[in-house]
Symmetry: C2
Subunit: 340 residues, 2 copies
DNA sequence: CTGTTAGCGCCTTCAA
DNA sequence: TTGAAGGCGCTAACAG
């Protein structure tokens, strides 16, 4: 890589002049300016962004921490994150924090040393370790957490309004006449807890019972397949299942079909997220759509705002809490409740 | 962020001494060393990695360029890439090159200015623009392309042996008695071309005809749904379809089921990749497994080798060409050919 | 118009 | 054992 110094030597001028010429600043004769720019472009001169970062204390980069890049849901959020960063001229340093070799806190520390201007993390399926949490708390720059609520909202947060989304889903099922509504929930993650609570709340308000054996934990396709198989072979089975997400709904769908149940005639299914698979399975899933890409964009927006404010290291006094609206998308996995 | 200078001031020593103390180098009395390290840790001193990068001309970071982070296939490759980089202590700068705001070549240039040590790009569904290609050619550091073969192999390349994989798939179908084998291919991408050629080659060698109306382009689920619907409603329809990938196979599967065809009794389907969905659809897909994570790891390995060699900017004299083996995974979407 | 100087944060070499 | 100086690539404020 050629440096200004070399260009200066070649052009027989000082580095300062080269600097001005390349920045098209006044104070350089158009003649020497042209000459310098000519040499620079011929030699493929590229300014060193690292140096610039050092000088003005802004690296124009942020760390994006995720724990499963291959997750389709996360992929869509990541798309939004990248879009937002790109538009703002920021670079994304991607890190996955579930490796063996270098632990998450290790990598996070590296990011700090690389002087990223902030961190945006998502979607943390497993709660972070204390060490990781500590690193996050002492991180030099704002931290945004997407989707999951951790440890009493100490970080800035952007998520979706899971409660309202779930209530809408339950309302939809009730309009269809369902009273025996079960739930494949995910107790390990905060969104899972919120969604289950919302179901229970809605049912309680409607004066409907939720039997324990209509509930089962299931956070993945495989979980759901097994759990739904058990749940649906009971004598007293629900006529509708609210699932933690679309993958879980898909697993439940397969279980139902395997058991010879028709969906939605015998069993109504509702997913959450509205992933591409929702329209690819048969029947297409009724689901609570989350604005996934928007989630990423809003996270970035919040982060850049905080960066611009020059937020001090350490925790914010009043962390922002943003909830994006969801939308119930009715497709063909839900229908009128079967007559008893 | 505290700097060495500040620590030096506080400890009443020179920066040089602080430098040595923090690096645990000899030449500092254990007493002052302790004092300095104490202050540093209390003030949360973090070395500035950017400075280090400038000094030794290695940024320990590479650019990872992809064009669809939400793509499941790419996600699994990306996982391998991140794993490889992480193990080697490298950081990943993620960039997506299909935005409106800043074009791919723009972003790539930014990466160069940020002094990344190399580029790894995947999976380029659409061929790059001339401008992008130019930026890639003149990139200061080695460039690795994954999966897709571009423009006469001018870059280092790691992919899978699609030809052998496809031949194995065809052989499997022939063993099952299939002779009317069609193909949903993807003419836009190099892997699509290779796979179709392999099908044609296998059929030719077997003395079997491939009718034009057994072939249709389809690169996505939606494409496949439409194409397969048309293809399967013909009087003379194939009894087996080799699909460009698992998503395409899924689309074809749905089309077949919609038409009342049983899979595999009436129609055999073979996918490519072995994504999670392959075991989630009914029936589970027979497919050609690609070592996706390994693909990413090998790409990184190759890249780091080239970096270590200190490869000059510009194109390599003899770009490496690595093909990873595939493996046919037989599940339930293929079965004996129907009797005529 | 051009050159010099100082400084960003750090490391390395050499002198005290 | 410690300090000072030079340099990495660049910018900004001055001096010539």
């Amino acid at each position: 890589m050629v440096s200004m110094k070399e260009i200066a030597a070649i052009c027989q001028v000082s580095v300062g002049t080269v600097s001005k010429a390349l920045a098209n600043q006044p104070g350089v004769s158009s003649e020497t300016g042209e000459r310098i720019r000519g040499v620079a472009s011929r030699l493929r001169y590229r300014p060193n962004a690292l140096v610039r970062s050092i000088q003005n204390g802004r690296s124009m980069s942020v760390a994006v921490a995720c724990n499963a890049v291959e997750d389709p849901w996360g992929g869509m959020v990541l798309r939004g994150v990248l879009a937002g960063l790109c538009e703002a001229g920021y670079e994304a340093l991607l890190l996955q924090w579930d490796w063996q070799v270098r632990s998450g806190e290790h990598m996070l520390r590296s990011m700090g040393e690389r002087r990223v201007d902030g961190v945006i993390m998502f979607p943390p399926a497993t709660p972070p370790t204390p060490a990781y949490l500590h690193e996050l708390r002492t991180f030099p720059g704002p931290v945004i957490v997407l989707d999951q609520q951790w440890s009493r909202q100490e970080f800035h947060f952007v998520g979706t309004d899971d409660r309202l989304g779930t209530l809408a889903a339950v309302a939809h099922l009730r309009e269809l006449g369902h009273t025996a509504i079960g739930c494949l929930h995910a107790p390990e993650v905060s969104t899972g807890v919120v969604r289950l609570q919302a179901v229970l709340e809605a049912m309680r308000r409607a004066g409907l019972a939720v039997r324990d054996h209509w509930l089962a934990p299931a956070a993945t396709f495989a979980d759901a397949l097994a759990a739904a198989s058990r749940l649906l072979t009971q004598a007293d089975r629900p006529t509708a299942l609210l699932c933690f997400n679309d993958e879980v709904a898909w697993g439940a769908l397969n279980a139902a079909l395997d058991l010879g149940l028709r969906v939605p005639a015998d069993l109504a299914l509702v997913g959450f997220a509205d992933l591409p698979l929702a329209v690819q399975v048969r029947p297409p899933l009724t689901t609570v759509r989350q604005p996934k890409e928007e989630l990423g964009r809003q996270g970035v927006r919040l982060l850049l705002e905080r960066i611009a404010e020059g937020e001090r290291q350490g925790l914010p006094l009043t962390p922002a809490q943003v909830l994006l609206p969801t939308e119930l998308v009715v497709r063909h996995s839900t229908g009128p409740a079967p007559q008893r």
